[in-house]
């Protein structure tokens, strides 16, 4: 054990950091794209369901395949890995944002509109705060999946903890596989915990209490 750490310790830290950045950037991009898109979809309810199924199809493409497809398109390295993961992050966030915002109490929205809120004020002051717990659930789900899938980034030279796993497989060294898997799992758990703290912080006080009693 000690021997392993003295031999691979530094590499392990670097790979963990790589793993974290790859999935972190992907999820950030996912949030930046999927949340506004989800809100936009609630404004076009007739098209929304069809568009969401379309995004759902992307999700069904096997992850290994999507990475393979990206090689001719974008070559190898971190960038295509991030883009591939980003595509995967979209659906849960998009679907939860859409559902969360769509399910905001119509009466509250009508009251807001009747008070003289414009679209932007309605989104920022009512829809996002009230949909936040649902949106955050989507983000957490995406994050946990993405940290797992990020291991595949190594397949197209993206680095990360996947390097350990692939090396372990190629060299028949189970300890390397374990060294890649355990940190990835811990990362996923930590990220989930961190996000749930953020969710609690961001959810408005009165809504937290109301939401729990619902």
């Amino acid at each position: 054990m000690m021997e392993f750490f003295s031999k691979h310790g530094q590499e392990l830290l670097i790979k963990t950091w790589e793993h974290l950045t790859i999935s972190g950037i992907a999820i950030l991009l996912g949030v930046l794209v999927a949340v506004p898109l989800g809100i936009l979809f609630t404004r076009i309810p007739k098209l929304a369901d069809r568009l969401i199924s379309l995004v759902g199809i992307l999700q069904t493409i096997p992850s290994l395949a999507i990475l393979a497809f990206f090689i001719p398109l974008m070559g190898v390295g971190k960038f295509p890995a991030i883009i591939a993961l980003f595509v995967y992050s979209l659906l849960p966030i998009l679907r939860n944002t859409y559902t969360g915002v769509k399910n905001v109490d119509q009466n509250v929205l009508e009251a807001g509109k009747g008070m003289g809120m414009n679209q932007w004020e309605s989104i920022v002051k009512i829809e996002l705060p009230l949909a936040l717990p649902v949106i955050m659930a989507g983000i957490r789900l995406s994050t946990v999946y993405l940290i797992g899938w990020a291991s595949l980034a190594a397949f197209i030279g993206g680095g990360g903890l996947g390097d350990f796993i692939f090396d372990g497989m190629n060299l028949y060294q189970p300890e390397l596989i374990v060294a890649g898997t355990v940190p990835a799992t811990i990362l996923a758990l930590l990220a989930n915990g961190l996000l749930s703290v953020i969710e609690k912080k961001l959810t408005p006080k009165g809504w937290k209490e109301t939401y729990q009693t619902l």
């Binding site: 109490d105 929205l109 807001g112 008070m115 003289g116 809120m117 414009n118 109301t210 009693t213």
Partner: protein
């Protein structure tokens, strides 16, 4: 204040919700729109703050065409209360009350002051400002809903069945509270309801609608007295028409016009013989011009007949009377509350014109319970056949 000119709303499916509606609402008027569901009352109201667009015609608020104004600015200048209350669950009561202030970018100080000022209007403690909507009862929540509409001090307030979702007792007290508030603040109110009792209680003017058209628009008294057609009558209900009679009947209509009187200058002897002749124990005292001066009863005469000679010396001058055009409804309460046996009725010159006795009231209550004398005769006649 508010004018509807040939307002029509047609939905894309071809359904016409409101047909060529014309109405003028004065400043400070409390107008209730009432009618069966689907009659277009809510549509009419929502066209005022442009939550629904007008198809044809014009609505003027304060003389200005609403379609020429920015809808967001227009809505901020008009109060709005909905049945489902629609308080923001994630905002404190204070933030909810001054929501329009926030949209209008008021300073925090101004918002704090306004919130405190408003919450006093509905007799809720200031600590409530820091609470959240889910901590309040339904009645308290709707009080906040009303305050929220008042926050920016709009002259016009639209209310869509605001008390419809409350239990009857809460509804009753809120109606009373709100009517008082409206009189104090002199707001113009457009109030949609399907509850006739509510409309009769609150409105200065009731607008009865059917199939997108106004059937009758008048004061509650006038509608009860002269329903425009069978639809209105049915909508009011027979019970209410009969029961409402004390509400619109004046004292003059039911008083007995020949009270037994005695003149101030007459002697006690004459008074007592008059009582004996008419089989009564008290007399109303009038002067030569029939002006009501007081009352004298057999007990007063008995106590004073040795010391005094004339009615004017003995009579009780502190006497309660009602003007002949006052409403029976009010008189009835006074008689019952003060446990009076009768009330003299006077004209504007304070001349005695009649008397309302407990017997006249018994007649009214009888009619209310059994209907008009005419109505019970019919089944009897029918049975005899």
């Amino acid at each position: 204040m508010l004018q509807f000119q040939h307002v029509t709303k047609r939905y894309p499916g071809g359904k016409t919700a409101v047909k060529d509606l014309n109405l003028t609402v004065d400043k400070g008027e409390f107008v209730c729109f009432i009618g069966p569901s689907g009659c277009g009352k809510t549509t009419t109201m929502k066209m005022v703050n442009r939550l629904i667009d007008i198809t044809e015609g014009t609505i003027l608020v304060d003389g200005k065409d609403i379609t020429k104004q920015d809808p967001v600015a227009l809505r901020r200048s008009i109060g709005y209360v909905i049945q489902q209350i629609g308080l923001m669950p994630h905002m404190t009561i204070k933030e909810n009350i001054v929501l329009v202030g926030t949209l209008l970018k008021w300073s925090q100080q101004k918002k704090d002051e306004r919130a405190k000022e408003l919450i006093r209007l509905v007799n809720l403690p200031e600590e409530y400002l820091e609470k959240y909507p889910h901590e309040l009862s339904g009645g308290q929540q709707q009080r906040i809903g009303v305050l929220r509409a008042l926050a920016a001090n709009p002259p016009l307030i639209l209310m869509d069945e605001p008390f419809g979702a409350l239990d009857p007792i809460t509804r009753d007290s809120l109606q009373e509270e709100f009517k008082k508030l409206q009189k104090e603040l002199n707001k113009t109110i457009i109030f949609v309801t399907h509850d006739m009792d509510e409309a009769l209680k609150l409105a200065d003017k009731i607008v009865i609608m059917r199939d997108g058209e106004i059937v009758q628009a008048d004061t509650p008294e006038e509608i009860l007295r002269n329903p425009a057609d069978e639809f209105v009558e049915k909508f009011l209900g027979k019970d209410r028409l009969i029961q409402a009679r004390p509400d619109v009947t004046t004292v003059k209509q039911i008083m007995s016009s020949s009270p037994v009187t005695v003149e101030t200058g007459e002697s006690l002897k004459q008074a007592i013989s008059m009582m004996r002749k008419s089989r009564v124990d008290s007399l109303l005292v009038v002067d030569e011009e029939k002006r009501l001066k007081g009352v004298i009863d057999v007990e007063m005469i008995d106590r004073n007949w040795k010391k005094s000679t004339y009615v004017s010396e003995v009579m009780e001058t502190e006497i309660f009377s009602v003007p002949q055009d006052s409403l029976l409804r009010d008189t009835l309460h006074k008689i019952l509350r003060r446990s009076l046996k009768y009330v003299p009725v006077v004209d504007d010159q304070h001349r005695l014109v009649g008397i309302v006795t407990r017997a006249s009231l018994a007649d009214i209550v009888y009619d209310t319970i059994w209907g008009d004398g005419l109505e019970i005769e019919e089944p009897i006649a029918a049975a005899a056949e």
